[in-house]
Symmetry: C2
Subunit: 363 residues, 2 copies
């Protein structure tokens, strides 16, 4: 593994879209007792369901602690690779490399800085040193060269790209005080251009209400094809999310992508608000003397947090009246892919969803 101090864009590398073909996928086994209720038993089942859905068409590697290995190995099908690697939690999207490729198909990783979504300002746990080392170690394992960008705080969930020069991000996240507060919006945009191989960055103002990542884009808006996104939507004007989604829609309607195309926006309904129960909260151990969640806290549930595998859309379900409608919309968009719905409440409780616990490796 070479550690590179040039930038992907100057080297002819760019981040492909998720809807392009993958050579594989990465996940991390859930173990953290203040994230995953009742010893992570139900979370593990949900993660295993996601893993099995992905492994139908992709070579999947699941990372686990030493302690978690045996359980992961037992619960995961034998064609899934299980490898020990220390982590602080299970958010592969955010701690694994962002992969870029060039026109010859060579793949490299980007090792962003990771500080648990806000460091000592509004991060979600401390320390995060194990997470922060994973991207580089993953490139070492995969024998890929890696760009050292640890000085810049970024997560995979904070960016979506079309693979044709356009990135979508949220101001709420990228301009948050806990990430790169010494940089202006323009400076941050310039870094994305240097590293993702994009020429256009579209800034949505918000993500999902109460999303504790400072509103990652991947929970509200995702590219489903060139010049086509889905946007999480509610028609309930009393929901704080309503105005947030309206403002994002306005940006998208008034923007063009890197190739000058208008962007088609398909609204994906939100589930009815999901609240954590007292019983679920009792299953979470405290962190640093404080509970990580409180009963009746609203969780940032969204159908947009799906994973696009080579053969399927693996999307969350919430035992909600909108589950089928959301699935139908995605089925209509992804005509060549199977729609796999996974009951995701036990992932959501941890603070994210299916897209957050996966990271694709382009082919």
């Amino acid at each position: 593994m070479k550690i590179l101090h040039s930038t992907p864009t100057e080297d002819g590398f760019f981040m492909p879209a998720e809807f392009e073909r993958h050579s594989g996928c990465l996940m991390i086994w859930p173990e953290r007792a203040d994230s995953w209720q009742y010893g992570a038993v139900e979370a593990r089942k949900a993660f295993a369901e996601v893993a099995h859905a992905i492994a139908q068409s992709e070579r999947l590697t699941v990372f686990t602690s030493f302690e978690g290995y045996d359980t992961a190995r037992k619960m995961l099908e034998e064609h899934i690779r299980v490898i020990e690697m220390s982590s602080d939690d299970s958010w592969a999207r955010d701690v694994m490399p962002t992969f870029v490729k060039n026109s010859e198909g060579e793949i490299r990783g980007i090792d962003w800085g990771f500080n648990a979504w806000g460091g000592l300002i509004d991060g979600l746990y401390f320390p995060w040193d194990k997470d922060n080392r994973m991207a580089r170690k993953c490139c070492d394992l995969l024998e890929l060269d890696v760009y050292d960008k640890r000085a810049f705080i970024m997560e995979g969930g904070a960016i979506h790209v079309d693979g044709q020069g356009t990135a979508i991000v949220t101001e709420a996240c990228l301009l948050s005080r806990g990430r790169n507060p010494h940089m202006t919006k323009q400076e941050i945009e310039n870094e994305l251009k240097k590293y993702l191989g994009v020429t256009k960055v579209i800034w949505l103002p918000y993500g999902i209400y109460l999303d504790e990542t400072n509103q990652h884009v991947d929970n509200i808006c995702a590219y489903v094809a060139p010049a086509h996104v889905v946007l999480a939507w509610t028609d309930d004007e009393n929901d704080p999310q309503y105005n947030m989604s309206v403002k994002c829609l306005k940006v998208l309607e008034n923007e063009k992508d890197a190739r000058g195309r208008k962007i088609k926006v398909t609204k994906l309904p939100l589930p009815n608000p999901v609240y954590i129960t007292k019983n679920e909260c009792e299953g979470l151990v405290d962190f640093d003397g404080e509970p990580t969640r409180k009963p009746d806290e609203r969780l940032a549930a969204s159908y947009v947090n799906f994973y696009i595998s080579n053969s399927a859309i693996i999307m969350p379900a919430f035992d909600d009246e909108h589950d089928d409608e959301a699935a139908d919309i995605l089925r209509d968009i992804f005509k060549d892919r199977k729609i796999i719905q996974i009951q995701a409440r036990n992932i959501l409780i941890g603070g994210g969803n299916i897209h957050c616990i996966t990271q694709q490796i382009p082919e």
Copy 2:
């Protein structure tokens, strides 16, 4: 990774000789403070020298703890892969899989039981659960199917094969009370035949004097070609090793290999006895309240403990008058390979040598 409960021999698999071509090699980074003096600083340098010698012609993977990763990554050349995996110590030969292959070139691993060279009877440390899990996890990583033989205690250093039906072992080791005391010699031999694909097992009585592995064969005798071994030798009749080597020689002179050939024995001189110093002992932390070594203890130094890489013989040197003679003998045998001598005192102090800290993967 499939976990197999059949046996390699019935599946058409066998262990190739070390002098055949390798696809790669495995090592484990030294860290244990009761094995490696003064914070393992000198041991790491020696391991890195061995690694770099191997990596000249083989794809090398070095496993390390989370804590050891950064140092290993810094000290090892960038084309060497460094991967996190928990271990109890650094003896890749004994804790990594023994690899077998079939006539189509498919590779599988054997996951022997490991109990730190004697378990609670005369093992060298406790616990050994991390070591005991490594072979299977390594196969998982390499995406190789693995034979589950954890019920049988065995180490890679306890066997040498010619890849043509013959294995050489020592009675001192394989019949030790701490390994498989419920089995007869014949039963143990039968297991070797089932797992290594051999039809003949040659039992040397001894290994090297004071070798704390219960005298592994790989410190006294090694195959260098079909029907040709080197044997550690001293002409000093007052050395306890003298009678041990004489008895081994007699066995070899009176045995034929699996193909009915007489075995050529080349004597490889031993270095003059090597003793650990008081200063070196002070650099080792105690284990379970007791020192692991005492000043002036004799160490089981032997030139036989070399590694045969695709392009080189990587052999220990002891700053001893016999270093050159031993190298010349191996140079004469391995005409197509470079002889690389590495000052190995800092590996020897840990209790083994270059062969013990490596494990080849056949091509």
